[in-house]
Symmetry: C2
Subunit: 350 residues, 2 copies
Amino acid sequence: MLASPPPSAKAFVPFVSVENMMRLVHRIGIETVLVELTDEIEADFRRWQVFDKTPRVASHSSDGVIELMPTSDGEVYGFKYVNGHPKNMAHGLQTVTAFGLLAEVSTGYPVLLTEMTLLTALRTAATSAMAARHLARDGVKTMAMIGNGAQAEFQALAMKAVLGIQNIRLYDIDPLATEKARRNLSSAGLNVISCKTAQEAIEGAGIITTCTADKQYATILTDNMVGAGVHINAIGGDCPGKTELHRDILLRADTFVEYPPQTRIEGEIQQMPDDYPVTELWKVVTGQVTGRHEAAQITLFDSVGFAIEDFSALRYIKRKLEGTDLYQDLDIIADPDDPRDLFGMFQRAQ
Amino acid sequence: MLASPPPSAKAFVPFVSVENMMRLVHRIGIETVLVELTDEIEADFRRWQVFDKTPRVASHSSDGVIELMPTSDGEVYGFKYVNGHPKNMAHGLQTVTAFGLLAEVSTGYPVLLTEMTLLTALRTAATSAMAARHLARDGVKTMAMIGNGAQAEFQALAMKAVLGIQNIRLYDIDPLATEKARRNLSSAGLNVISCKTAQEAIEGAGIITTCTADKQYATILTDNMVGAGVHINAIGGDCPGKTELHRDILLRADTFVEYPPQTRIEGEIQQMPDDYPVTELWKVVTGQVTGRHEAAQITLFDSVGFAIEDFSALRYIKRKLEGTDLYQDLDIIADPDDPRDLFGMFQRAQ
């Protein structure tokens, strides 16, 4: 019996653990990562039409949702596995965890597997910053951050690094969450203000970010709270039955979305009729459509998260990994010398 | 700054490499694995109606297809990533590679990540054997195996272990593939006959298995080759534009399928009108419908592979892993002590 030959290079897929992802981001610097990711995502929004697009494939249960989010630009394929379980927090678990993969379209062979819990927080913040760069008023310095959970600090840092936001006004129904965010941002070079109500948090804010996790129709913002000229960055309403804004706000705002077929199922606009007008954000990014046309306009980015943003983030990480030791080679692809001889490879392994 | 606490057990996902999968199957014995997998899949076919079912999510390109195949039984969620690239073989790569994952529905946390190239070959063979156990004539001793690529030996061993097949008649357009399969099966306790034509291979065969890889409409079997009483196990026609049987065979056969909405897109029956009658295999397994009602009947299992079969295989592997050391713990889930404090975990890792 022949000795089993060593696996080929194709048999191994670079894997980025949570620990290595944290090291990579620290090595580059989180604000630099957020700026570069914002540009990476914007570059992919500019070529929106080359991508295969499909609403994510969701498996809903009474406790939450598990989703697969695939896309491809014809050369590279990517997908993310992500869950959303609001009740997890009460059991000491993350509401959202994720991992993702890139593969070559020409061969179907994976080329990267990585944690994406941290990376999703980074890409969500970068997408918010990219949208705000196109939709918020020029020179805005203050953001209200309503919902101070796992995403809050990433949102604050991205708005600082990309838009020059200086003041963050925090509010959460749980004061411990606000205190956690304040403490984590204490040395970030931001003026951080803890607020006792949502109303207090939005005072003077040019951007209002809502990021709460209840899987139910909630009203985090009511109509009378939203003044002229504000940009609303609504990222918590992201699955059927989960919204954050009173529908009257949607009647006054110009609403921008990632991919309408998905957002109409999952976003704030699930409260609205099917013909409620929305603008695709990529058309603003490419200049085909004007986003903000007057200072008093209320703009709303009804963000649910789309596969192309994950694709951008995965490609960014793959590029940044080059020349580092921040990955392990994972023996996940069976790659016999003779591709038809899978059984022979198995036999020789005995 | 606090020291970073060690990750919790939930942060780690057991990962089964190709090498460990081969060790596990050798340790149990491949024929035992095939018999147990056949029973595992049959048990899940018996409770077919509890599963979330959806046609797989396919990303097609000129070179092949990349697919995600999710399902859930309400307690456990599973999915498989799998590609199909017929041209890969010419470049020394596998036509099909795969990996898969199980997760808890209640939390969305992954509980198993594993190679599935080898496991897919095993589950496909086990599914074929399960279908043949219900559809082939009693006492059949000979199978023709047309297409002698990576799946061939697994098919032969499953039909031996589950049905008592004694004679395997091999044919492939490439004699080197036939020689490879003959050599690999030489000590399997089977009477293996290499044939020069498909016509020669089917002589005396009670089961005809077709498993070729061209992504095009092909005619591996013509109508005059298929005699009364035969069971056809057609597993190569498994994506749009890819079939193996002449449509006249379909007019004479009773056709059994896994999940009609997927098979009508991908299977042999894509050649037929939408109202071409098919029987769902799970209804035969549960006894609701009679599969074979007379000896002269031609039965056809138009197999394309369905997510529930992968789910069964993943659960089987997870159970068999218990008490072994045949996995690595993969740090793929970010799991901070305080689930809202993802950023704090990142900060403390510096």
